[in-house]
């Protein structure tokens, strides 16, 4: 009996060892990202693609809101306790420079792992630090004008009339549309702060110069930006929604004829099924009389990063390279089901991108957006993007209340300089 027991024990022990050894062959890559219908869905699809290539790797996607991702990374980096961090994180493009410059060495260098020529320059640039690349671009934030063609028509205009135009022409048309239909041409969140980021970038200018110093006072493009926004608001052609929920509702209930926003707003626009066929997509207006002004810009978007601390960093990088940075096929799949528009330029050649979109009256909106994406000017984002944006937002408000623009911009410059000194 004793002998039998010892044999049994040995067998059990060996079996459990074998089980552990078997389990060890499978590598698990954990990913933090948000939005089940969008990023999480895309990641899971990528996992399916990679399972064909490397069946020994499992991808585990964990839902963490973007602010929460940043809080946890900050806590981990400062305290040096990085055991709980995942292998891959998704990050808002606007946060890129902040994290790369504050926590150098925390992200895995992807420069030689990914072919960056397949991505739009401006997008890659968000995660470049000291000449090295740290992210695989994903979610497209290309700005576009989503506009009700039926309302335009009622006022005697077509989609072509609002394509490749200047802001002054847009305001002109807006006044006419308001007069003939009673509908404000544009809706946005109160304060029009989104335009403070979109318009300067469309002219290839940012709040900082090449050395990273604030470049606000006396900046012609920023001045023109604030003037344009004020003219637009004064013309009474903008519906300013008190919050995000109301903003979306104005789109879906016909309280305004258009929005100028990152292309990801598409998912919310198409929710109003009764408006199918009544929408069109085109590029955004450009600044008047400014050299280098274009009809293209960016608003939001995010990218994938690999953490340097990850034991499986190399596998994680390979995973991203073979999916998000290497599979046109994959991008067709996720576009069809979730409307997740790529920044991987070759994806535009796929059939899903060329397909006409019923909601937009058969317009091939995805191909159009990809075409816009390739033309977005590159700007140098910095550590203090949001601080500078907020200073400009205050300046804009004071300017709209009748303040002197030049001195307000000087004030904004001083504020940002003061914040950067701290």
């Amino acid at each position: 009996m004793k002998k039998f027991l010892s044999v049994l024990l040995t067998v059990v022990l060996l079996a459990s060892f074998a089980a552990v050894a078997g389990a060890e062959e499978k590598t698990t890559i954990t990913v933090w990202c948000w939005d089940p219908a969008f990023n999480i869905y895309a990641m899971n699809e990528a996992a399916k693609v990679y399972a064909q290539i490397n069946p020994d790797v499992e991808i585990e996607v964990i839902e963490v809101a973007s602010n929460d991702c940043e809080t946890r990374q900050t806590a981990a980096f400062i305290s040096g306790q990085m055991d709980d961090l995942p292998d891959i994180v998704l990050m808002q493009d606007n946060s890129g420079q902040k994290f790369l410059s504050t926590y150098p060495g925390m992200y895995y260098d992807l420069t030689d792992k990914i072919d960056y020529s397949n991505f739009a320059d401006f997008k890659v640039n968000y995660f470049v630090s000291e000449g090295r690349n740290y992210a695989v671009p994903f979610d497209n934030g290309c700005a576009a004008m989503f506009i009700r063609t039926d309302i335009l028509e009622e006022a005697g205009y077509t989609l072509a009339d609002v394509t490749d135009i200047t802001w002054s022409r847009f305001i002109e048309i807006g006044k006419d549309v308001k007069e003939k239909t009673g509908v404000p041409i544009l809706t946005c969140e109160m304060g029009l702060a989104d335009f403070l980021m979109m318009i300067p970038q469309s002219a290839g200018t940012w709040y900082f110069d090449e050395e990273g110093n604030p470049n606000i006072a006396g900046n012609e493009v920023l001045k023109a930006t604030l003037e344009t926004i004020k003219q637009m608001a004064d013309a009474g052609i903008v519906y300013e929604a008190v919050d995000w929920a109301e903003y979306i509702s104005t789109l879906n209930t016909g309280k305004a004829a258009s929005t100028i926003q990152g292309c990801w707003i598409l998912g919310s626009v198409v929710l109003a099924e009764d408006q199918a066929g009544k929408w069109g997509v085109t590029n955004i207006p450009r600044l008047d009389n400014i050299e280098g002004a274009t009809n293209y810009s960016n608003q939001g978007g995010s990218s994938w990063l690999v953490l340097a601390n990850s034991e499986n960093a190399e596998i994680a990088a390979d995973f991203l390279n073979q999916t998000f940075a290497g599979s046109t096929e994959f991008y067709q799949t996720i576009l069809k089901s979730s409307g997740a528009i790529a920044t991987y330029l070759p994806a535009a050649e796929g059939e899903a991108y060329a397909a006409p979109h019923e909601f937009f009256g058969g317009q091939a909106v995805f191909a159009d957006i990809m075409e816009f994406s390739a033309q977005i000017p590159k700007v140098e984002l910095r550590l203090y993007n949001y601080e500078a944006r907020d200073a400009l937002r205050d300046a804009l408000q004071a300017y709209r209340d009748g303040g002197d623009l030049d001195s307000l911009m000087q004030e904004a410059q001083d504020t940002v300089e003061f914040l950067m000194m701290e």
């Binding site: 948000w34 939005d35 089940p36 219908a37 969008f38 964990i62 839902e63 963490v64 809101a65 973007s66 602010n67 929460d68 809080t71 946890r72 806590a75 981990a76 400062i78 305290s79 040096g80 306790q81 055991d83 709980d84 995000w244 929920a245 979306i248 509702s249 879906n252 209930t253 990801w264 707003i265 998912g267 919310s268 929710l271 109003a272």
Partner: protein, 277 residues
């Protein structure tokens, strides 16, 4: 009832204005709550159209919520964290508050002042050092890790100290003469008599623990430890927000604190009065 009847004839403008103001104020405070509950039963589209009446989409919202999110896990985790934190915090802090009043010590007022000073330090400032300490002790993703920082708070100790000052010393003396040990005096005499203070402290502590966000977020990183506030944060961080589902999640999140508050309401008011007397 009788009071209303007596005063009925005297509808003076000042009175009308007063009641109009009160009605308006209560409407303003109750309306967001009403809208939350109503929205939980409406579809996203209906909410966008500012529908103010109950709809028929509750089951649909429930299905979306439970299909996409680990609602049960988050709810039970939050309930576990908040309950255990509350029980431990009440016991430890009341013991401290009791000690500060009943026992004599040269430095006790100094210690109390230092303790009060700690209330001035914002939680965000201690977050990183605490996270470092706790992860080195291996307390990540554990109940102990999430509750330890809030089991002895200066606020609670202060509250119990103030409450204890109105506790008759004679009872303690009598109990001592009858031969009751110090711990048993606390457990059998003090605790039952101080019920209102406990109720008030329980409501406040439970609510804080239930709503706690920053600390649980960093110390509980494993997905099976997710709490309700984290879950709600996830439901909102999407390109296309389903407000009906979010409102349902938020409504569910308010239930435990609501139940606790109504159950302890009477004692809560007494307890708050007692501690500020």
């Amino acid at each position: 009832m009788s009071q209303i009847r007596i005063r009925r004839g005297k509808l003076r403008p000042a009175r009308v204005a007063k009641y109009a103001f009160l009605v308006l104020a209560s409407f303003l405070s109750a309306f967001p709550f009403y809208w939350m509950l109503v929205s939980a039963t409406n579809s996203n589209q209906a909410i966008m159209e500012m529908r103010m009446f109950p709809g028929a989409n509750l089951i649909e919202n429930w299905k979306t919520l439970t299909a996409g999110y680990a609602l049960g896990t988050a709810f039970l985790n939050s309930l576990r964290n908040a309950t255990v934190t509350t029980v431990c915090a009440l016991f430890i802090s009341s013991l401290a508050g009791y000690g500060f009043v009943v026992y004599r010590d040269k430095y006790k007022n100094l210690v109390m002042s230092l303790l009060m000073l700690s209330m001035m330090v914002p939680a965000a400032a201690t977050l990183i050092p605490m996270f470092r300490m706790f992860s080195r002790m291996g307390l990540n993703n554990s109940l102990l890790g999430v509750m330890l920082p809030s089991v002895a708070t200066a606020f609670l100790i202060f509250m119990f100290r103030q409450g204890t000052q109105s506790f008759p010393d004679a009872i303690i003396q009598a109990a001592r003469i009858d031969g009751l040990g110090e711990l048993r005096i606390f457990l059998q005499m003090y605790m039952p008599i101080m019920k209102p203070t406990y109720a008030a402290a329980a409501t406040v502590t439970f609510m804080n623990a239930w709503n706690a966000y920053l600390w649980p977020l960093v110390i509980l990183q494993s997905p099976d430890q997710i709490t309700m506030p984290m879950l709600i944060s996830n439901t909102m961080n999407v390109y296309v927000v389903d407000y009906g589902m979010v409102m349902l999640a938020v409504s569910i999140c308010t239930i435990p604190t609501l139940v606790l508050f109504f159950a302890l309401q009477r004692s809560f008011v007494e307890g708050i009065l007692g501690s500020v007397k």
